[in-house]
Symmetry: C2
Subunit: 236 residues, 2 copies
């Protein structure tokens, strides 16, 4: 078996890594590569070619090589890619296990569902607090995380650096509270409110999860399918 020798990784795990400007289309595919590589790792595969990976992932081999090359030569001609090396590289790029400090703003159903999920822990993010205005919730714990009074946000942020706020509060308060958070130094937002945060998007990173829009586009496709079936039936 050929030994992979180039690109020797002398850095410690999750050390500083260069992130050149790369199109969002590529970035959005990285988590998917990450998942497939983890699976390969679990299966005990040590090497993979772009062709083999392309068959698994249902994308072209060309795209895989193009994507990975945005960040530097991770493979080796004639050999392919070393699974664990590529996995660690993509981990570093994505910032897995960087330990970003996260607060969840809004301890309703969704906020509580998120804090109890393993999603953050798995990816090495730390949820350090929940916030809410409801006196019945303040002081309680969910998933081992305490609900703080929304009025204590300033105090909390001055003593704990917060990298990311998960917005699961009512959409009516999204604009105001996101501005408040930004002024407290929070520059990353995972936005579930359905409200567009254009007022902060210049100075912060905003990732929107618009469940309503997602549901509607599914609704569209199902309706389209149905009416197409109807059309066919009419013809008969």
């Amino acid at each position: 078996m050929v030994e992979i020798e180039n690109n020797v990784n002398t850095e410690k795990k999750h050390e500083r890594i260069d992130r050149p400007f790369v199109s969002p289309a590529v970035i959005r595919r990285l988590p998917r590569y990450f998942r497939y590589l983890r699976e390969l790792l679990r299966e005990g595969k040590t090497r993979i070619s772009s062709g083999e990976l392309s068959a698994r992932m249902q994308v072209t081999a060309s795209q895989i090589r193009q994507d990975l090359n945005c960040f530097g030569g991770f493979g080796q001609q004639g050999y392919g890619y070393n699974v664990s090396y590529l996995y660690s590289k993509i981990s570093d790029l994505l910032g897995v296990s960087m330990g970003l400090q996260v607060i969840i703003v809004g301890a309703g159903d969704l906020g509580r569902a998120l804090v109890r999920s393993t999603m953050f822990e798995k990816r090495g993010l730390d949820i350090v607090a929940l916030f809410d205005v409801d006196p019945d919730l303040i002081g309680k714990e969910f998933g081992g995380v305490k609900v703080h009074d929304m009025r204590d946000l300033e105090e909390f942020c001055s003593t704990h650096p917060v990298d990311m706020a998960v917005l699961t509060l009512p959409k009516e308060k999204a604009e105001e509270e996101s501005a408040r958070l930004l002024s407290l130094g929070v520059e990353g937002f995972w936005n579930f409110t359905g409200k567009e945060l254009s007022h902060i998007s210049k100075n912060a990173v905003v990732e929107n999860v618009h469940l309503g829009d997602s549901l509607m586009s599914l609704n569209y496709e199902i309706c389209r399918r149905k009416s197409e079936k109807d059309k066919k039936r009419m013809k008969e």
Copy 2:
């Protein structure tokens, strides 16, 4: 004021509507148009030009005209678009208030959060049942919807036509249960499991909400921002 006369809508509300093939990129923007039009309607605006709408939505006027024209001439030269007419047309396209029958498979935190949300009701979808395997949950009600035994799925589907299944069950069971649902006639899936459902995607419509991937791309951007700041600091 100019009267809008063309494209007179003689159909009843939410009647059959022609959905030509249109690129997914356009479809994914429809819910957003829908939201902005609803807002205009609330404000009492009766007409809007592509230019004015483009300023609000932060997209080009050209794109708006291009998008809307995929489905036919909804506007009028020299006038613009009639807000309520356009709103109703986009409603019809998206299938708002078509009353699709929905079941939620998996009554965990996320499933319960969804059933208690107003998201489905607002868009005219009906959640008719929750399903789970947990004996402690079976028989209980959440948001007015009963939790059924997963074993009764066949029976339920044979008596109630189901248009959409929301998959909020553990990813390990996603493949098996989605195949089962497909065989029972369910052809629309809102997939929160994080598992890719390629085995059914030929015969069903699948909308994936991959929260983990979304979180990771946010993590990437925050880390990128941080390391860029570090770089600048180093220079000084």
